[in-house]
Subunit: 464 residues, 2 copies
Amino acid sequence: MERQWRGKFPVNRRKPAVELGSGVRKSYREVIDVSWGDPHRAGVKPLSFVRQVLAACLYSELMDGDKLMVDVKQRAQRLLGTCAGGSVGSYCATAGIPQTLQSVSQYIMRRDGGVPCHPENIYISPGSQWALTNILKVLVNSEASPRTGVLIPVPCHSTTIISLTTLGAVAVPYYLREERGWALEMEELQRALDSAKGVCNPVALYMINPGNPAGYVQSRKSIQEVIRFAAEKKLFLLADEVFQDCVYGKESEFVSYKRALAEIGAPLSDSVELASFHTASKGLMGECGLRTGYVELVNLDPAVMKHINNLFSTNSCPILGQIALDVMVNPPQPGDPSYPLYLKVRHFYLPASLAQNVRRVEEVINSFPDFSCQPLEGGAFAFPRLFLPPKAIERAKEAGLQPDTFYCLRLLEEAGVLFSPGTEYGQKEGTYHIRFCIMTPSDTMEEILRRLSAFHEQFMKEFS
Amino acid sequence: MERQWRGKFPVNRRKPAVELGSGVRKSYREVIDVSWGDPHRAGVKPLSFVRQVLAACLYSELMDGDKLMVDVKQRAQRLLGTCAGGSVGSYCATAGIPQTLQSVSQYIMRRDGGVPCHPENIYISPGSQWALTNILKVLVNSEASPRTGVLIPVPCHSTTIISLTTLGAVAVPYYLREERGWALEMEELQRALDSAKGVCNPVALYMINPGNPAGYVQSRKSIQEVIRFAAEKKLFLLADEVFQDCVYGKESEFVSYKRALAEIGAPLSDSVELASFHTASKGLMGECGLRTGYVELVNLDPAVMKHINNLFSTNSCPILGQIALDVMVNPPQPGDPSYPLYLKVRHFYLPASLAQNVRRVEEVINSFPDFSCQPLEGGAFAFPRLFLPPKAIERAKEAGLQPDTFYCLRLLEEAGVLFSPGTEYGQKEGTYHIRFCIMTPSDTMEEILRRLSAFHEQFMKEFS
Ligand SMILES: Cc1ncc(COP(=O)(O)O)c(C=O)c1O
Ligand SMILES: Cc1ncc(COP(=O)(O)O)c(C=O)c1O
């Protein structure tokens, strides 16, 4: 959820409170905050079909007027019919509304070219992170000795690191190879596993695909290698696939771990344990505030499923989130009155503006000799490497800060742009990165790049 | 959340699947489900002011038309201003939107006659149960020997029992005295604490006030006795006060544990540790599906607060829920265009129809010699005692069921009314109860009582 580091790096959005070093104040009208994976925060507009259906479900008088298209009303009517008492204000089964579980399972089957998916293996939850934390609770024995280990990529989505640590697990890092577009290499996985010997007992392997913070997309071949590795080492696979709809590399394609596993065939396809996570917070929806995600579980022991069922039985996903999820997996179809507008956003506006952002970010960042951005294939972020001069590193140390945190604070103070430092996600010793969300309107991205460029040039000059 | 027992007692809402014993089928148009603490499910209408504000926040075009009152639009505008990017689809700080935390703390201060309340001691969460589970995680050491104990009332809200058990804690029961209107007696608390000796290490005392499933309201005196007891025994107080707005006994008044603690004065008021829970799921709002609650923490050690902060940092409350919460603690005021309608529901319609339900339930249940209902002072439920004939108990045992479960299944099958059996909440050995929600429209309650009466008479005759 990208919000934890705020605790370590306190920021007042209205008025940067910190003043470090230069004392120079650039003028800017307002802070642009692209430190979260949060499209709406960055100015992306919500999908009107989704919002209209939700509004109609909440406020039934909207069904009478002529403000809403007939398919919006029909959809709202149908979804309200799945709620107890016909109200989005009622409780539902803790795993989710049965009809929505059904919709999600059909969506997964379509996505995976027909690989079977059963609603009883799906839990809809208040955010995908909550689902992940629950699954981790089952895997991690917080009092075990040696402690439970979970292999995680470096760099890694920071909330997962917090979940792991809070549960008392050891995060065993495997480093993605930046120079090869953040590739996951099998020798590195093996090295990571070996490094755990005598330290902890690794039980699971966590991957983020497409990546966060690094914007890679794993190939089918890479995924299948990882699956075979997990099978051989008896590791539970945790596939964080929340960015599955965010792929923009020309050569890239999202392949789910579930599908890749099915394609390998028996005996692996019947035995490797897998949890796959998805959400309404990302992609075209970008509805982070609704708190809606789900997990699909594959090949789990029935006894373990029972325990998981218990963990999911003390909370359920907000009903409005489930309604949005149902719309997400069943968008308007050709012939529906709302289809033309939906199509425009889905197939033209968003991809076009994202593609433009990607191109511009790569272009601008790589135009600096001391900045380097790997090709952005998917996800929601750019995670360029920053080659900082020794003097800047020294100054940061004097201030008791990591060098990239120092850079980000100065950027905030002087240019009014809020990024997050690579140090929050893990990075190879001695390397520095910054992360920012690329899901913004194009003109916002231009403004960000303009401010960043001016600041960067100035900063590098100051410390050269 | 009242939903777990459904797992143990599988129910198909459309067609009762179980047929036990009689084979007699009564005719009914549809099943009335009052087994949950869920007003909308039982047919209560949502508050239109709340729903209109939420709809306007979701779908901004509603701000332009003339469908909505000006105060609705202003409220929506103001609350959207507290969301990042002006969208309810963005993430917020994990403790809650700062302005909403502020609103809640002011509300608590007003409720408690000015006792100070600080926003930084409040966590808004996806449902109050989630907050309770998090606080329990801090209190319960799942691997300790002897195990951690938590004193809980009998009968007790069932989800809390599940949370405790899942965390590996021992639930130490203290029995409420049914014949005295489910009074909490100090000798019984002492007995319960003594009973834990050699079994577990009791660290906390959980109370539900007003009660669930039993409909009592604790007096100020009783609360202060409990606080002194907790202070003496060094127990953490967990005050589940989600029904604080559901008080209808003429002599009853809700007094918060926080206020009672403050009124006791130092040194207790500065030392007894307290967590108090509230929610948007109950009372006038009844918005269970939004998943919104909060906890206020009093007198906690800063180190413990830090740990709690970590636990709350992997999820946040849905934004729409927080907006509803803000409206709940700041309802329309005299002079606002929406005030007259709000006033009608708040002060006339709901209290009148609830008072009528309460009167009718007590009247009808107590008219049977083998049924007995204590005065209903608060909460959302009736929990009458059922004096079952030996033959019914025998038949239940033959079917492998608890006697009150047997009764509820037969009631469902023959009368199409869904209650939950006392056995789900704990009850004194050899006593039997049923629980049902009394927050329904008056005509629904009449229909429930009509069906129940006819069934009950028939059932008792069958087994006499
Ligand atoms: C990789 C990854 N996983 C999970 C999440 C959590 O998403 P949700 O809002 O569904 O909890 C995020 C959010 O940024 C993420 O980046
Ligand atoms: C006593 C009690 N506490 C907590 C809850 C949970 O409410 P929420 O919907 O806020 O999680 C309930 C719900 O029925 C309840 O009865």
